[in-house]
């Protein structure tokens, strides 16, 4: 996460926040391994491990390899490692959603179709934004990823709420953590881009500090969620065929439509002058 903007010349307070964040990540990894949750969440465990590897790589680069040198190689290494963690983040989130929605095949199938449509719209918006801000292309791309990611996760969570799917609190916290961090990244990138200019010397440390801090908060929430072994999956409660749904659902919809029409007539009747 420290590679977010630049890997050189971190002020002391940024290093402290970073150290706290790394400690929190180590705690999350330890909980995943000790409580046996890594078996259930292999991608999530990989994500946490990859973040730690990224932190170690950047630390070595910063301290021993190119200390004080803000070279293009540093930037490339930082952003490539960031891209890798973002890909694994998407996989870890899908893994969590899959665990939650596994017994609900119909909802899973419907949500995927809707999500593909919504994500396409967001991606188009991001591409247009990136083309308009070529100087800020990497920042815009990073924000675009988080925008797409946060929108997708929230759409999933709305689905889960709408269909009253029971989600164990631990999964809620893990998904919420991912989404919170993405929302914060969108806000931080936007505010920084709007308020500061590129060559402002205070821009990068503040940017790094708030970004790492929001990530550290997420780690603490995850540690709380993972302090106990994850719940055992609920047995499948699906009905065996879709005939129930396709038999009853149109009847309900027709009656609800009729009810709405009657309500509309009631409304119109009231609108008439007495």
């Amino acid at each position: 996460m420290l590679a977010f903007c630049s890997v050189s010349a971190f002020p002391l307070y940024v290093r402290w926040i970073w150290a706290c964040s790394v400690l929190a990540q180590l705690l999350v990894l330890a909980l995943l391994l000790l409580k046996g949750n890594f078996r259930k969440l292999p991608f999530f465990t990989t994500y946490v491990g990859l973040n730690l590897c990224q932190a170690a790589l950047i630390y070595i680069m910063l301290t021993y390899w190119h200390p004080g040198n803000n070279s293009s190689t540093d930037r490339i290494v930082s952003w490539v490692s960031e891209a890798a963690t973002l890909v694994v983040q998407a996989l870890a989130t899908t893994e969590l959603l899959r665990l939650v929605l596994n017994p609900y095949r119909g909802i899973w199938g419907l949500a995927w179709r809707i999500l593909a449509g919504i994500s396409s719209v967001v991606v188009i918006f991001v591409v247009i934004d990136a083309l308009r801000n070529f100087d800020w292309a990497i920042v815009v791309a990073d924000r675009g990823y988080h925008l797409t990611f946060a929108t997708a996760v929230i759409v999933w969570l709305l689905f889960i709420r709408y269909y009253a799917v029971v989600v164990p609190p631990a999964y809620k916290l893990l998904l919420g953590g991912f989404c919170f961090y993405s929302c914060m990244t969108i806000l931080i990138n936007t505010v920084i881009q709007a308020i500061w200019y590129r060559n402002n010397p205070y821009m990068e440390p503040v940017w790094q500090a708030v970004t790492i801090m929001s990530f550290a908060i997420v780690q603490v929430v995850w540690a709380a969620a993972l302090r106990r072994p994850l719940p055992v999956e609920a047995p499948r409660q699906n009905v065996d065929s879709s005939s129930l749904y396709f038999g009853v659902s149109p009847v309900i919809n027709e009656q609800l439509r009729l009810l709405n029409e009657r309500l509309m007539r009631l409304w119109k009747l009231e609108e008439r002058p007495h």
């Binding site: 919170f180 914060m184 969108i186 936007t190 659902s249 149109p250």
Partner: protein
């Protein structure tokens, strides 16, 4: 600041607010007035009380009181009976929400779900809630259009009967029954839309 940045900032805040809303426990924040569980346990539908409500807000009583030259009493009775009608309207909504939620539970358990059906029901639910609120406000200030209220009750009643028959036919699925019971009794989904 460009308009795109403003929009992005707004979207960021909106997403955070939405996240907080979707992550909260609906049972913790459920309105006690909307708690259908206790009403459902009674195993009866509010539409069955329509004849009594019809009598309570019927024009005959008001006409009689007015003809006896009791304007104050007429107004008081009208107010009280309007309150009864409003409570009845709220109960109709409760019946509607119960059925709406039942449909969602059926959808969540089906191995295949039709997007068109789901969107249609979502749209109907939203439209019903909006109209209900408008009518409730109008009902509060205006005169009760009784025949229409009656037809509204009939629709809810018919829908309940149909659903009960459908569910009876599916009684062999123990998992379905347990899921429906738990979903209907834990009060979830009442705050949607």
């Amino acid at each position: 600041m460009s308009s795109v940045l403003l929009l992005l900032g707004f979207v960021g805040v909106l997403l955070l607010a939405l996240l907080a809303w979707v992550l909260r426990d609906p049972r913790k924040f459920a309105n006690p007035d909307d708690d259908l569980a206790s009403k459902e346990e009674l195993g009866r539908h509010h539409v069955t009380y329509f004849p009594q409500v019809r009598q309570a807000i019927g024009a005959e009583d008001f006409a009689f009181l007015a003809s006896r030259g009791l304007p104050k009493l007429t107004n008081r009775v009208r107010k009280e009976r309007r309150r009864i009608a409003l409570a009845y309207l709220a109960c109709l909504r409760a019946d509607f929400l119960k059925l709406w939620r039942l449909a969602r539970v059926i959808a969540s358990m089906s191995p295949q779900v039709g997007a068109a059906q789901e969107f249609a029901r979502l749209r109907l639910g939203l439209a019903f809630s909006l109209r209900y609120e408008i009518i409730r406000i109008k009902f509060f200030f205006g005169i009760a259009p009784l025949p229409e209220l009656g037809s509204l009750s009939e629709v809810v009643s018919r829908l309940s009967v149909r659903l009960e028959t459908a569910m009876k036919n599916l009684g062999e699925s123990a998992a379905l029954a347990s899921k429906l019971t738990s979903s209907l009794h834990d009060g979830r989904g009442l705050d949607t839309p």
